[in-house]
Symmetry: C2
Subunit: 245 residues, 2 copies
Amino acid sequence: MNLLLFQPGELDAGAALTVADGRARHLLDVLHVGPGSEVRVGAVDGGIGTASVIAVDAGRVTLRCRLGDPPPRPRVDLLLALPRPKVLRRLWAQLAALGVGRVMLTNAERVERNYFDTHLLTPAVYEPLLLEGLQQARDTWMPRVTVHRQFRRLVEDELDALCPAAIRLVAEPGEAPRVSRALAHAPPEARVLLAVGPEGGWNAFELSQLEAHRFTRVGMQARTLRSDTACVALLTLVHDALAAG
Amino acid sequence: MNLLLFQPGELDAGAALTVADGRARHLLDVLHVGPGSEVRVGAVDGGIGTASVIAVDAGRVTLRCRLGDPPPRPRVDLLLALPRPKVLRRLWAQLAALGVGRVMLTNAERVERNYFDTHLLTPAVYEPLLLEGLQQARDTWMPRVTVHRQFRRLVEDELDALCPAAIRLVAEPGEAPRVSRALAHAPPEARVLLAVGPEGGWNAFELSQLEAHRFTRVGMQARTLRSDTACVALLTLVHDALAAG
């Protein structure tokens, strides 16, 4: 844990935070803090700063927090065909660590219907995994997660409201301009909406729907990657291209 | 499985291959092949082509193979501080899928000694995971894996023989030239040797040793990533930069 995250409501009027859960155990058993220790802290969706431990008592740790500015908000949103549960489980923390503003999980022909039954789509299950990723990467911006069982309704009716004014890219294996070229002339504060298909790919209808709604194709190498590897790779390329702009 | 891999010795003089293991079950239960079906096949470290199923009998599948050229050999080698076993397990298939010529796992101050006791460093355990990644990505080049308990000996004495004539990069969080800039003037067939440290980073001595042996620093974002995410991200950036050259 490179950053101790707390919910804004956990802070009292005097900027004191008391933790008694897994965070307290991490502070005591891994970081071996005591009164006077300094740790890096952040408020979910808020500022980052440092905190001094002011009391340790029976597994409870109380810290006085001094928060500065929030980190920059991630400029990438992800539209992802729902991967199989085993892959999704691996992916949550990595998505938060790489930085995404919004994750829209959607259906597609090559997504199996029973994938939607997984408990990994329950906020109580995925939020701790997202927090783990944020704490790893020292970020505070909790990705917004929505689940869309109807691909067509998402693309036609919902996407403009969820992700206005973004450059839209859809990744396909094979020949297509590289991400860095597609984003070479992106304005300085541009946001990107990246669509990543199922492991078998989008079908022709889905791809034409995406292209009809302003998505342009980008390619990687010729290699076919597992969904989690592909997401990490593509988010890396988008972030890298935006940082270069 | 996007490619059925076999060891060159499995092919008989008439280019016939008989499988009766997990590959046969995949052919029969997932791909539902029968006589006349065509599947994509490859020889480990060799060519890629197609095969026709010529017989199915009691869980055994026999195919006639027609192999073409091997895919291009991956132009990236990885020097990786040994990650904790849970992370290493996730990483094997992804490394093979992304494409690495050689993986050198090494010690560092911030690598715990007991990480070297894991069965994940046994070829019988990691080779099937590497094959899984190759089959996913349709590659045949099996990464060469070596384990180096002495970082200093590796860098001073062994690296020049293991990875001659490569551009050497060491990834560090924070301010440093981006990968694409570091490789902007790489010659067309250049190989890259990428060093990725432990989650706590290389210590100052290790970093100075690497820099004394022709490694130049490259940066990513300010974010601290888990070893597996960092490896996928960095290998993606190196492959992308080499493909652009």
